[in-house]
């Protein structure tokens, strides 16, 4: 569950909405400002915070918050 907490604060910051709560199923259809440019920004911000780089394949597979979590936790143990 750790990843989603961190993702949540990234989403809150990028969309400047402190009340925003994202779930694994949250997708661009739930957040009005989540357009293709916001997507590029999200990918970059997530990479920065998690200290990782997504592959081209992964970048094109990120369609909802759950996809971010899947890409982030692939091959990693739970943090806690």
């Amino acid at each position: 569950m750790s990843a989603i907490n961190q993702l949540n604060s990234i989403f809150q910051e990028i969309f400047d909405d402190p009340a925003l709560v994202v779930r694994p199923e949250t997708s661009p259809s739930d957040i009005a400002d989540w357009d293709s440019i916001a997507q590029v920004k999200l990918v970059l911000a997530v990479e920065e915070v998690f200290g990782t780089r997504f592959t081209t394949e992964e970048v094109s597979s990120l369609h909802c918050v759950g996809d971010f979590i899947a890409a982030l936790t692939r091959g990693k143990g739970e943090i806690a």
């Binding site: 750790s2 990843a3 961190q6 990028i14 293709s36 590029v40 920004k41 970048v59």
Partner: protein, 700 residues
Amino acid sequence: MITTAEVIRASVENAGPDLRRAVQVAFAITVDHGLEREVLRTLETRTSQGARWLRAILTEAMEGSQAASSYWKDVVTQSGCEVPDALLHRARAAFRGSDRDKAAALLRLAFQGAADYDFFLRAETLTRKCKPAFGCHRKIRIALLGSSTTTLLRGLMELLFLRDRLESGFYEAPFGAYMQELLQRDSQLIKFRPEFIVLLLNWRDLGLPNVCEDGLAADAISRVTEAWQAAMDRTSAQIIQLTFVPPLQDSYNALSSVMKTGRARTIKKINEALLEHAPARVTLIDSERIAASNACPWEDSISWSSAKVYPAPRVLPNVAEHMVACVRAELGLSRKVLILDLDNTLWGGVVGEDGLDGIRLGPPSASGERFQEFQRYVKAFGQRGVLLGVVSKNNPEDAIEVFRRHQGSVLRLEDFVSFKANWLDKPSNIRQMASELQLGLDSLVFLDDNPAERSEVREELPEVIVPEISSEPSESIAALERGLYFQAIRLTSEDAARSASYLVRTKQEELRLSSGSLHQYLNDLRMQIKHGPVDADTCMRVTQLINKTNQFNLTTKRYSLEEVHRRMISPNSWFHWYSLRDRFADHGLIGILLAEMTSSEWTVDTWLMSCRVIGRGVEDFMFRDMVEHAQRSGAQRLRAYYIPTAKNKLVEDLLPRFGFVATDNADEFVLDLAAAVLPECNFLHREVIEVKLRMEVKTT
């Protein structure tokens, strides 16, 4: 037994260079395990940056941004520098508390030091919401044309422009369609009437194979210059372009840069040719210099393939900073004065306590060498036309002693146009210095290692840029390199002589005080004025002056070199320059008058004067000169405008003083030439007229 909360605390207190990430992870674990209270308790007495950061972020999660705001204030680096992330959190709290002005001030400071692309992303939305509070004084129209995605760069430039109190309107050409947009007679681009065009091209646009046979470079060069030509023909914009960076991947590897026909070597040749042939309306930015200063690669193949972003997003903030600096320079908004603190800024240690022999400046001390290096860096700033000043809390004798007698001091007293070592507060000293130099506070940059002094100056004088630095001199250099506060597009001989000219002004101030009267003072100056029509020799300096003069400027119209040239050769324009010399200095070309002529009437388009020579009666001479020429041409009226700006209050009364009468139209004045009264021939004037009779007068 050590508790989980203590482990979490230890993880942020012993974090590596990426403290932000360590705090994020610690925060996530704390929340996952519901340990907020326990962790906060273990942090209570801790003062490390990591502990303070974690405390702020936990308090924010539990009690909201208002409650956390004072904790965020404590998040500073070891040496007391502000941390952009903490400033962003404080800005959020201020915004939610409806204090937009404070939010904008905090964001402005954060953008001064932020280099991470990631930071800009997180700050972007909030900054847009605070837009009205940034106090923009000018709008600019910029077109972004290119063969890559321009949106990310646009976002960054918008934020940096806001920081600099500029409101930017952008036009982004459809992806890759820049040439069509430039060539089509009534394209959206042409209708947008851009003041600046940023041309974002990359090596792909050059169409070069790995091995470039003869002629390919020439083709590529002409393709770029054709784009320039189209932009110059169809718009009046200044064009800004990055030089090309060879592809990071090339199957010929190192050979690509060594082989005569190698692609990398060919691209360097192309850059060289572009620099050589760029007309004045094209500003080229050296990409290699930016690339070398970035820790991450210039190009990122994933960002390119997924979103056509070029160069790499992490390089973009630095690129945007360079572009914004070029725009500032073109608009005459570059800073003019670098004011320095002394102890622990220009040398290591405190001269008043450690004595002349105790301070670190020059070898053998390693830190002394770095301070000396910094002095050398600063000295060269002075040589290229940036004015240098000192504001320091010190006994004046102690401070002066270092520049007179210390072996390691590269800077000498003569390098400073103003030297204030005393015990007054720094804002007062800085304000005083600005008024002596007759420059606005927004011409100043102040460097001081002391966080309290910085914050006091920022609070009192928000127009002054005060970068965050520690007492490590390489940080001072880095701050000046990053900020590009003194960006200049090109140098003229006046730039090199500027410091000397200001320096003597300080001496003139002394003379003014010691002289019995103003007339006596002006007489003692033995001024000589020279003037004539703007020509090929003077048009460069004239353009420069037109674009940066703010105070003595009736209309504040800005013209590119090309526009100046057009008026210079137009038979309907009367376009004159004035230069001044006195017994202390040659001030060079300091005044410009431009009038549009019809048979019955002259309209004053531009009347400006460098603030260095205000109060000398030069304006009287200029007025007299123009009236005499207008009368001789048979004109009956002079029409003129005073267009008020934030900075030209100085000339509010200029036109009425010379007998102009306000008309019913806003800002408009007329003078009946038959009734014109030429300025009283006070002492100065007689002097000037005599000079005029003596010298060779160029006539139109």
